[in-house]
Symmetry: C2
Subunit: 209 residues, 2 copies
Amino acid sequence: MADKREHILTVAEELFGEKGFDGTSVRDIALKAGVNLAMISYYFGSKEKLLESLIELRAGYAYGILEELNKDQSLSPWDKINRLVEFYVDRVLNNLPFHNIMYREATNVRSDEIRDRLISIKMRNLEQITKIITDGQQKKLFREVDIAMTVGTLMGTISSYTQSRPYACQILALGYDVSEETYRTKLAPRLKAHLKQLLRAHLDIKNEE
Amino acid sequence: MADKREHILTVAEELFGEKGFDGTSVRDIALKAGVNLAMISYYFGSKEKLLESLIELRAGYAYGILEELNKDQSLSPWDKINRLVEFYVDRVLNNLPFHNIMYREATNVRSDEIRDRLISIKMRNLEQITKIITDGQQKKLFREVDIAMTVGTLMGTISSYTQSRPYACQILALGYDVSEETYRTKLAPRLKAHLKQLLRAHLDIKNEE
DNA sequence: GTTTAATTCAAACGTTTGTTTAATTTTGTG
DNA sequence: CACAAAATTAAACAAACGTTTGAATTAAAC
């Protein structure tokens, strides 16, 4: 085991994502990670600080790519929107546990520190997306829209199908207990196609009323 | 106290919505409800069955109105979509705790019974919305869209601003700790306006590509 | 090879958890 | 009023919780 600390974090991430922070005991984590119970206090100090460490580890998981996307002068605003959709769908589906933690525990996390950290991550991403949209507006490609709400639509649509997998499987007419792999490969293209079509119509200045 | 049983359910709803099912102890509930600890087992049998009772109580909270909306022959599909938006935004904002339970606990509820119940509620609502959209398509007003994904967009957009109130306040540039009342009165019209504009562009057959 | 520090461990700590008990009080009925 | 059923209570239950302890083991440094 190369880095035991990170291994514990990964296991905790899976369990928190699946059963929630309060629904997961440190004994669950120790057992699944194959380490002694006391190691969690040894490495992280407490269960809550373990969560903080996890968030710190994954915090920048979107920002870098968004910034790059923004700087790319060769892409039209429409290209950027489509890449944004691709990027977010893939990003969420490839980091399902952490995404679920972000969007499930964000509200009721006890520590102000963690909550503010999560909010600031979201705000930073919102800024980048805002830049893309205002750029499209200045180039007279996009119409006036409520940008913050539009970002809520993007993230909310994805979340509505990732937060409850049994429901998603039902909707998508997949088998009742389908593998993680086929779940993602079925969901991703459908989410992408829908969001591209949706944002295309929503943003297009030709659809101005 | 007229109906103590229902009072306990209401208090539990608030706490579950705020701190999650696992984050709420039966002692928390008893204390806030002003009843003896043992009354919860006396009335409901267990904490888990209390949650089941709560879901049973609020289960039909959307279906009836949706069905009515569908039957109303005097409304055009566009009217129905707008009413649908109005209805859902109001419904969610007026039942925030239960909505949060539905969309937060749905994934990780241990009991298959509860999970299947929640899924069947969602599926029933999806059916009604599907009817509205297919009706609009038959009347050559709406274009071809992914209906299940569109419903996900509707619910997901709302949820993204109700699941994390501190974040929503930040985005909406409200004060840091604004009252429940002003939070709702600021959020509701903005959500409605955005969703109407969004669905208008998304569904309009004139925006077919 | 010895010494020091870092790691791992089984066991126990004191709380809190959901639930049950058994006695008591309140309520409704004849 | 008398009696049975329902409701309420304080106290206790065992189990699970997050965390700490102190000894044992491993690794690193000199």
